[in-house]
Amino acid sequence: MARLQLRNVVKSYGIHEAVRGVSLDIDDKEFVVFVGPSGCGKSTTLRMIAGLEHISRGEIAIGDEVVNRLGPGKRDIAMVFQNYALYPHMSVRENIAFCLEQQKLPKAEIQQRIATAAETLHITELLDRRPGQLSGGQRQRVAMGRAIVRNPKVFLFDEPLSNLDAKLRVKMRTEIKRLHQLIPTTTVYVTHDQVEAMTMADRVVVMNKGMVEQMDEPQKLYLKPASKFVAGFIGSPSMNFLPARLAGEATDLHLVLEDGTRLAVPASRADDFKHHLNRSVIFGIRPESISSHCDRPGWVPIDAAVDLVEPLGATSMVYFNVGKTGLCASIDSEFAPKARTRLPFSINMNQMHLFDPETERSLAC
């Protein structure tokens, strides 16, 4: 159990910087998920915490101790790997016992700890098998058993579910979360799957190009993305982005889209944006914030020709164009239009986002 701190951590390979100054403060017992596209530096950061990669600059502290110079075995961490990394020539029991044997614990205690861990993860009957005789889900469980048996200060997960099929992934996801509730330990979990990030995390760290874009609770990330990148990465389908201009006066703001369409900014949001009058912006709106016709306050009508409809069951993805930009709306299937018809849509401007076209940071912050 420990706090985990990263202070301006940099990882460089020659002139290329894979991680460019990451500072994080992860609380004791917190479940933090690193998420981002491939090559964003999330795995490298995790591996630096684990001690598997050398830290080029900056500091990492577990508890009160700076661990930069400690080997991975001395950091009191446990890691679950993407491909499980179970020792193929050892039985499940030996796999789990290995780390305890390295700590030179008495045999009786080792056996007792294995039994407890196996019970927690329901793998007692697998203890005498070899990893090669296990299914993907079972291997995953053994890998977790190997991690929990040592009672570490920090758990590290490196995309542990990406080798499982979709159904099993959902099951293991809830299981990892339940395990964390059962054994509350500081956890860092790396994934490229934003659904995993949203569902599991106490706080999510969105990374891009070696830097932290935003660290926040999942719901805040969704509602108040700090940048265009976070807005586009979190939420499925992705947020729509349109080039626009913010015009009008402080009390009567509106957005002018490329094709001249004017969208009124509701009074509830005017305060957020009134300092950015008369400038180019990127207008962001989630597919869930576009609906078929609706009269509620803050909803603005827009007329468009439907290009394509993808039914998903409860909702349908409706694609249409505004000016030259394609938009996607997630609409209740009951009200879904047919392709190639013209339709009045409504945009929920209460949920609008504006970003700076150059820095791509949110203008609401």
Binding site: A50, G51, L52, G71, P72, G73, K74, I77, A78, M79, F81, Q82, N83, A85, L86, Y87, P88, H89, F98, C99, Q102, Q103, R146, R150
Partner: protein, 288 residues
Amino acid sequence: MRKLTTLHGRPASERLGDAALLLISLLLAIFFLMPIVWSVANSFKPAAEALANPVALFSKAFSLENYRRLEDVGAGWYVYAANSVLIALGTIVLTVLIAVPAGYGFAKFRFPGQSLIFVVVMATMMIPFQSILTPLFLILKFLGLQNNLFGLVLVYTTFQLPFSIFMMRNSFDAIPSALIEAARIDGASQWALLRRIMMPLALPGVATVAMFAFLNSWNEFLAALIFLSDQNKFTLPIMLVNVSSGIYGIIDWGALQAGITVTMFPCIVLFLALQRYYVRGLTAGAVK
């Protein structure tokens, strides 16, 4: 499943093809096994019959006479066999002791000049052994190891190493780095890592290295002939030559075949015993 398809559901032409293939394989096997069978059969004949003309492959009379006469060759065949065993074991142990850490180093560590050193090690494979016999002789003489079994072990190990290091590097390379990382996180020391994780997984490679070290040191003739001058220190291949060039140039075929059988036997047994590992070792890292 496969048996079912062979018995039923397969066209006659295909089954005929299989039969032909089997027949050809059998003929080839007989062709290659013949000399071995011939030697073994001859070695158990009475001496006179081994020289008879026309010869019979198998004789009705079973005799150990040839083996008994092998005892009269020089210091007796068992002395030479013991020497050969000592040299082979020494070469195996020394080769494995050096090649395993060297291969591990080349596979899993990064250090300056790594590729160059590896290329240099590999390049020594290109040097014909015979061309440096004289300098080797001088070095052994300088070390006082001439006419010494350990000296010969050193020579054999030297020539065994490039291939063995290459082999071990491939074996260690084939082990996923995630396993090593997992072990490091588990707190394994470098020694525990090598002993508990790497070695068991690289065992096929070690078996291959040991086998080649055995075969090459067991069968080697030229260096043994040159570096050993004391009759009591000769190895089996030298004994075989002594048998075949007997008094007045008469070749004692029976004794020679007995000697060949004795020499060949451990090779065949070892090969069969390690075959499973050996094949896995040679193809390690070929397909991920």
